[in-house]
């Protein structure tokens, strides 16, 4: 049986306190990293582990770190993406609320590796409890010499600050997050330059997700081979899966990368509600294309899901049963992206506005012949033509709904009504 790594403390009473974290071996990884490794050796260790970013894109973490220029000069920054806005996702909130020191230790080791003395943790504004827990944990870590100047008797200086978001999904996009941190409207930047070269305040910056950073102390303590031994070699490690929707046991599950979606839904999360059948599953937050019930054998890792035409994304697994209208679901998802579009580029801003209008009229039984072709045309106009991945996520999701559940759309148009009402 798989033993939890990232969630081992979340059900421990007072798991958010430093004393609890230390009692479980906390901050030994930081001591080991500072005492036994050079920064470059930590980068190498993380490269060898094949750790890939848990925020959604799955970019190799060690490689991302290695892009930071070595030269002294401008300060380097570490930013933690704790904006967690992808619908269906709640893993980072639970880490920050119940085991914040795990994240702080991950931040400290990672900052040592890239040569940063300052980190900003960008936490979405709604997460008030997580923000309080993180602030408390930072203060405790600081008082006990895990943060501040001359950490653990070395010459490593490092401080963590919280930046509270204010309700914009787009801040989960890393360059929009940097804009927001600089006190601007959160709109994505054109790349290059990439943040590793010119990020926050035009300084070299690494942006990592909460779960990614939480993996780092464990890799230091247990080694890269241990990490690579969990799940598929190219996409390894323990993984947090957020189960929600029409399923018996919603909740946060930690299991190896690569477990089948069917096993996750049917065995771990208890399958569909009594008397219902699973119709489809969104595997990685609403940006990830929906997978029909017949294709659930796919492995939950970056490469397998991409090959299956979807993506692991944030591993927000949303279960949809046979009582749900897929037109309504698609409409709600596109309404979300439309609301959260930052307005910077035309295909996303205008295309989603148009798509919402077409979807709403189909759902209301007022769809017209040619509407589905029009939606496909809009997807084509949006996909690949925007500054960031928000538009791509919307277009991929809508395309998948049209592909797998076209019949339902057609029935709405032909019968001029929703068959689920």
């Amino acid at each position: 049986m798989f033993e939890p790594v990232l969630l081992r403390n979340v059900d421990v009473p007072d798991g958010h306190l430093l004393s609890t974290y230390q009692a479980g071996g906390g901050y030994r990884a930081l001591r080991k990293a500072l005492g036994e490794y050079t920064p470059d050796e930590i980068v190498e260790l993380v490269k060898e582990s094949n750790l890939r970013g848990r925020g959604g894109a799955g970019f190799p973490t060690g490689m991302k770190w290695s892009f930071v220029p070595k030269a002294a000069g401008k300060p380097k920054y570490l930013c933690c993406n704790a904006d967690e806005g992808e619908p269906g996702t709640f893993k980072d909130r639970i880490i920050m609320e119940r085991d914040p020191h795990q994240l702080i230790e991950g931040l400290a080791v990672s900052a040592y590796a890239i040569g940063a003395e300052t980190a900003y943790v960008y936490i979405r504004g709604e997460y008030v409890k997580a923000i309080r827990r993180m602030e408390q944990a930072i203060a405790e870590a600081h008082e006990n010499g895990y943060l501040g100047t001359g950490i653990l008797g070395t010459n490593f200086n490092f401080m963590v600050h919280i930046h509270r978001g204010a309700g914009a999904y787009i801040c989960g996009e890393e360059t929009a997050m940097l804009e927001s941190l600089e006190g601007k409207r959160a709109q994505p930047r054109l790349k290059p330059p990439f943040p590793a070269v010119a990020g926050l305040y035009a300084s070299p910056t690494v942006i990592n997700n909460v779960e990614t950073l939480a993996c780092v102390p464990h890799i230091v303590m247990r080694g890269s081979a241990w990490f690579r031994g969990i799940g598929p070699d190219r996409s390894p490690g323990p993984k947090l899966y957020c189960l929600s929707g029409q399923v018996r046991k919603p909740g946060l599950y930690e299991l190896p990368m690569g477990i089948s979606l069917r096993e996750l839904v049917e065995e771990h999360a208890g399958g569909p509600l009594p008397g219902r059948k699973v119709k489809a599953v969104i595997p990685g937050g609403v940006s990830a294309p929906v997978i029909p019930a017949g294709e659930l054998e796919v492995g939950m890792d970056f490469d397998s899901l991409t090959a299956a035409g979807s993506m692991l994304g944030s591993a927000g697994v949303v279960v949809i049963d046979d009582t749900t209208c897929m037109v309504k679901l698609a409409t709600r998802i596109i309404e979300f992206f439309h609301h959260e579009s930052c307005g910077k580029c035309t295909p996303c801003r205008e295309g989603l506005d148009w798509a919402v209008k077409v979807l709403r009229r189909i759902e209301a039984g007022e769809g017209e012949t040619g509407d589905l072709e029009q939606l496909e045309m809009l997807c084509k106009g949006i996909f690949g033509n925007t500054f960031c991945a928000l538009g791509d996520g919307a277009a991929m999701g809508l395309r998948a709904a049209l592909k797998h559940f076209r019949e339902e759309f057609v029935v709405h148009i032909e019968e001029r009504r929703c068959p689920f009402h």
Partner: protein
């Protein structure tokens, strides 16, 4: 700490004072309830930044309110996971019980009803945020109990306001 001191403490965390506009707006909103023009001007003055920079953030981010808002802001999530778990029926129930539509505030300013995008608590869908707190696994009975508890807080606050404005002994 005064609002000015709190904002200065926030600004000390960044190398550039413009970065402190968001935390300053949070501090100002907590102090004033919402962010009318003169408050935005105060924030700009304290930080020594362009007023338009402050205004553009106050209007871009959804957690900032430039208009007055109810003392209890009921923010019901209606994104996918909550929708699949019945948030639509809960919205109708709230609208009927409070006698307002979403986006509106009850006369007297106790409750504002909003729907919001995913709150990141889908394991307890359907979920609603009120003030700093999340309330999950909602059904109509639990909603009614919550509303009653908010109304009780309102009654106490009304009595306290009346006592404070009464002539002293």
């Amino acid at each position: 700490m005064t609002m000015r001191e709190e904002i200065e403490a926030a600004a000390a965390r960044y190398p550039d004072r413009r970065s402190a506009i968001m935390p300053a707006l949070m501090i100002a909103q907590k102090e004033h309830g919402h962010l009318p023009g003169p408050v935005l001007e105060d924030v700009a003055e304290i930080l020594g930044v362009e007023r338009v920079w402050v205004y553009e953030l106050a209007t871009f981010y959804t957690l900032f309110h430039t208009e007055p808002i109810g003392r209890f802001h009921l923010q019901l999530c209606d994104n996918v996971s909550c929708m699949l778990c019945g948030s639509e029926a809960l919205l109708k129930h709230l609208e009927t019980t409070l006698g307002i539509r979403k986006g509106e505030t009850t006369p007297g300013g106790a409750f504002t009803l909003s729907t919001v995008e995913c709150l990141g608590a889908c394991e307890m869908a359907p979920v609603m945020q009120v003030g700093d707190d999340y309330y999950g696994n909602l059904d109509t009975a639990r909603l009614d109990a919550l509303l009653e508890s908010f109304r009780a807080v309102e009654r106490v606050a009304r009595i306290e306001r009346a006592a404070a404005s009464a002539p002293g002994e």
